[in-house]
Symmetry: none
Subunit: 203 residues, 4 copies
């Protein structure tokens, strides 16, 4: 990569880093583009060389950070050697929640976007390759599962909303319980949802 391209990438990442930090600390709406460029140490016009507007840089941030989280979880899952589908789901969730609890800023950034709508519309298209696409992964795992399920899409929908909804307050405020104490309740419920949605053994 040429020197100038290195520099370009550096500027872009400097903007992304600054925006991330400001969005987290002050909130999206209270962060101005002036704030971002000042923190990044670049001129105001430079922002517009890399991003269309404030929403654009947020979307890039979200898809970038989310893709990292899922990529990590998926790699660990592959390494883990777990073969049972339902245990794979639990492992995957656990890995993501652990990443979140170690980086609460991630939760703040992704919180309102980590919903089924994001998986469906956003992640599928954006920065993830097909094999890393969260729904694609899910369907791959599903095809190897020991059971078939009443409505897998609804099942994952309920799991996603339950997990993202319950983990948010727990990680950020320890309410109603700290994450480690809440996990057993969540995982019990997730297991129950899957068990309950089983139709019959596959094959």
């Amino acid at each position: 990569m040429k020197r100038i391209d290195m520099n370009k990438k550096k500027k872009r990442e400097s903007l992304l880093d600054s925006a991330f930090s400001l969005f987290i600390n002050n909130g999206f709406h209270k962060t101005s583009i002036s704030d971002i460029v000042e923190a990044a140490g670049v001129a105001k016009g430079t922002f517009y060389l890399y991003f269309k507007d404030k929403s654009d840089i947020r979307n890039h941030l979200i898809s970038h950070k989310a893709s990292l989280v899922f990529h990590n979880a998926y790699r660990s899952l592959t390494d883990s050697g777990i073969t049972d589908f339902e245990e794979q789901v639990i492992f995957f969730i656990d890995h993501i929640l652990n990443q979140f609890s170690e980086d609460r800023q991630l939760v703040l950034l992704l919180s309102k976007h980590l919903s089924w709508g994001m998986f469906k519309n956003f992640l599928s298209a954006a920065e993830l390759k097909d094999s890393e696409n969260i729904l694609g992964i899910f369907h791959n795992l599903l095809s190897e599962a020991a059971y078939t399920y009443r409505n897998p899409e609804v099942m994952i929908y309920m799991i996603v909303e339950l997990v993202s909804g319950t983990s948010y307050n727990s990680i950020l405020y320890g309410q109603p319980l700290p994450l480690e104490q809440l996990k057993p309740y969540i995982y019990d419920t997730v297991r129950n949802i899957m068990k309950n949605e089983r139709v019959k053994p596959a094959h």
Copy 2:
């Protein structure tokens, strides 16, 4: 109530109505105080006689609208004569979801706020009397229940997050299923959560 108080109340309600409609149609951040006062037909300064700022009027709106929803659900529940705790919970949820599906604007206003955090911090303090406080109601019902539960607060937390998370997309976009088709899945899961959290028969 004196004539002047009537007038005062009228202005306040006009502001609330206008703000509601504008928040719903244009979004909170794209609605200015100028927009609100213009729609309400009052002068700009008048806004500040009744509300501190834009967030203040939103909070009043949310607590007001939410209190109506819960009040309706609770009254119907009382009228229903249902005595079994778990069926009371289902009835209560169903009543609220029906109100939401008949008034999608309510969902748009309350969506991001209809979470356990709202019940805990917001509703308990705001406009609801003690007997109408959602958590108070819940504990009253619970004390008459046939079972005791492992951790009732965590249980209601999971139910609230599951129901609010899953119903949002369903009501607004019919995704991944229209509400009426999604309900069986939700209620099954809610029943399972409660069943699974039972510790022993009370008494």
Copy 3:
């Protein structure tokens, strides 16, 4: 008029005066709204209470200044007692050119707009009452004229374009002749145009 309305009118006129002076001295495109409000001694937001944008204030200026010029010329014409149509036209033109040569700033403001298109589309609608509308005046005078003309609209069109085109350089730069020396040529030509377009005596 109330004190507050006086004040409003004063602010508006202060903005118009400042804009006029800046447009003349620096040109429309090199004048910013910041310049205007600073010169007028009002806050930036105040500008937008009175005018939509920079073009808006320019249009108000043009129509205001033009209406003054025509109003003056028409009043003098009425006072003059001249009855012959062709002499009325000459008198009217002469009066306007005299106003311009005494206030070259007016020429700078109106120059590119003092065309037949302006009479047709702009002045007719804007600030002039019907009886002061330039085309209305023209047709009134025409109806009393001793002759009818081949195509009065084309005739006035040619006169307007000839007079406005030739007077501009003459007034501003004395080229190719100072106005007073150019006038005989212009008036000769205008008289010739009218004479040439005569069809027959009216009645």
Copy 4:
């Protein structure tokens, strides 16, 4: 011409062509240098190798396009064999108006600049050789004319302003008459101006 000069000329002309098209379609002030270089397919810095700024390229465009128009008209005039001065003037005007009515973009570009000031200050210096200089041509023709005229410079001034002023709206908007219908009025008037300015037969 060397290959590199070809290339250089090509870039310059590409910039001129792009600027012409953008000025016509979007207007001078709404066209940015970025727009021009993008349309021309060259880098931003390249613009400044050929032109000083936006006004500079416009001036080059105007003088270039205008010189083409006059050159064409003059060549045709020479070919026509017309010897009478006043008919030469009419022929020359007619040829130019025909070019304009076949290329309305030319009118848009030249409109506000096709005035006597342009002939005097601009064209005489710029791209036209002496024998193609419009005023030079005029004086050459004049020296062969059958009459002398009161003030030939004022005469041409009036003709130029009359013709350019009246043709603009007619060509672009068909107002107050389409060009072909307006021409008789214009040419009548031009002939009258010349006839009226005759002093005596030459020689």
